[in-house]
Amino acid sequence: MSSLNEHSSIALKRTVIVSIFAAVAVVLSLVEALIPVNMSVPGAKLGLANIMVLTCLYFLRPRDALMMVVLKTLLTAFIFGTFSSLLFSIMGAMFSFVAMGFLLLVGRKRLSLIGISIIGGIAHNIGQLTAATLYFKTSKIFYYLPMLMIMGVLTGIAVGIAVRYLVPALSKLSLFEDFLKEETA
């Protein structure tokens, strides 16, 4: 009986963490929209929400993180009311999620969270450009990819550093103690 209890308690904790992270990611997207940073490269943004996706991938299973990504994408679409860009957000989020999830599984030893977040950011850009290619039926938009890649390195480093501070801080909370991994970045 006690093991069953423990099991459902972990499942509950997962659900709570996923929903909190999704909420924080939405708030970060809102904050980001308020900061008037002129990146001078179209489509480039800070990608603060990526902090939460990466942290979620770090603590929980990939499918929990997937749930969080979908929730976050839908919620931001509702709040901003930009359903025309929902396809773009989803493509970007999925590409980024798959790339980061894959690297966390495979390249854990060679890459730190910074490298993974750089790849996640660039994958997000590639996903969005792919969506634009499908939507406008022209591949000319990939013209901007090299500039986006350089921006992606910079924002990826920033996001990676943020995650590196966030993970140890969250690890001290009792909510997260069941999900701790032995190795830290």
């Binding site: 179209p42 060679r110 890459l111 490298g115 750089i118 790849i119 022209t138 990819l145 500039m147 390195v153």
Partner: protein, 130 residues
């Protein structure tokens, strides 16, 4: 930061520069053929809206469709988004575009502007499809 990160950053920047640097070099050579003006293809929702030639003289192009309205400004052999009533204003971040392959996109309005080389034969200039 691990060694892998630094290698990764190096690779990414190398790839990006491999694309950007040839573009800069091309720009110098194409600087001389400004007599043959480039054209901007304006498409809305995948359909050709208008083709305009990029002149040195200033001219504005109004694009009013069911999706919203945009004003494009042409000057100095290039084109830029001047005004748009969309929400996200991403189209302004594209800035002034005057090179082949340059693009301006306004997603909420399904508007796309592509800069192309001098119009070849049989290009239907100034035909409004709608």
């Amino acid at each position: 930061m691990k060694r892998g990160d630094i290698i990764l950053i190096g690779i990414v920047i190398a790839i990006a520069l491999a694309f950007i640097v040839p573009r800069w070099l091309n720009e110098d050579t194409s600087e001389t053929n400004h007599e043959e003006a480039r054209v901007a293809k304006i498409t809305v929702d995948g359909k050709l809206f208008k083709t305009v030639s990029l002149t040195k003289e200033e001219q504005t192009v109004e694009v009013n469709t069911e999706f919203g309205s945009n004003t494009l400004k042409i000057h100095d052999y290039g084109i830029e988004m001047h005004d748009a009533d969309c929400k996200d204003k991403v189209c302004f971040t594209f800035g002034f575009v005057d090179r082949n392959g340059g693009t301006i996109i306004c997603l909420p309005h399904r508007l796309m502007v592509e800069v192309e080389g001098p119009s070849g034969e049989g290009d239907d200039v100034d035909v409004i499809v709608k």
